[in-house]
């Protein structure tokens, strides 16, 4: 199945991409996708931050199971205001 991946701020710069599509196996979780991304983008491998995760614009846990067509956002520590 195919999911859309959104990266922001420091993660976007480290990966060199903001918005991409990825094929993932059925039953994949957010964590599985993150592990794939870290293998695909060397710049993400060393990221040592407590991230937040959103699927279709709602915060989810790392073990959230993905569905075809999901938009998955990896959210580094926020700093608005």
């Amino acid at each position: 199945m195919k999911v859309r991946v959104k990266l922001f701020a420091m993660l976007r710069e480290r990966a060199g991409t903001a918005d991409t599509f990825h094929d993932v196996p059925e039953g994949s979780t957010v964590k599985d996708l993150w592990d794939d991304l870290r293998r695909a983008h060397g710049g993400l491998a060393g990221v040592d931050l407590r991230l937040l995760y959103a699927v279709n614009s709602e915060y989810v846990a790392l073990d959230h199971r993905l569905a075809d067509g999901d938009e998955v956002a990896f959210i580094p520590p926020v700093s608005g205001g």
Binding site: R50, V78, G80, G81
Partner: protein, 149 residues
């Protein structure tokens, strides 16, 4: 009124929005860009947001405040893109029948915005740039409870 803008935020626009004959108080918070942080001399700040989700999370702050306190209307506008020093990066305005509710709702909105609305700021300072919150070794210790919606 819950939105992002790449233009200077107009306080009067928010005040007009929250103005209501039933309100006896209007509380505002204006976050402004500072020229220094932890010894760095800052030239400007760049704000980035997750469009769609950021507005949605900002709107949730208003809904939550309305459940906790008696408020009449609320407006939250956050600026995105490059913000020169001394300008407003965020403005919150809350009207309420009584001042205590207006003060508390305004405080709640900015405190929660800083914890969980997907917006990031990068400091452009003399000698470099840095994403605030993503400095090496710094961790986000209080993630929000995932929403079931």
């Amino acid at each position: 009124m819950y939105r992002l803008t790449d233009q200077p935020i107009e306080l009067n626009e928010l005040l007009a929005f929250v103005g209501d004959p039933a309100a006896g108080a209007v509380s505002t918070f204006i976050g402004t860009t500072r020229d220094n942080n932890e010894g760095r001399s800052i030239i400007s700040l760049d704000y980035e947001a997750y469009p769609g989700m950021a507005e949605q999370e900002i709107a949730k702050l208003g809904e939550e405040a309305a459940e906790k306190w008696e408020i009449t209307r609320m407006a939250i506008v956050h600026r995105i893109g490059n913000v020169p020093i001394g300008e407003a990066s965020v403005i919150i305005a809350v009207s309420a029948p009584h001042r205590d509710d207006a003060f508390k709702a305004c405080r709640y909105a900015i405190d929660e915005l800083k914890k969980r609305v997907p917006i990031w700021k990068k400091e452009i300072y003399r000698g470099g740039e840095i994403w605030i919150g993503s400095q090496t070794g710094e961790r986000f210790t209080t993630p929000p409870t995932p929403s079931s919606g």
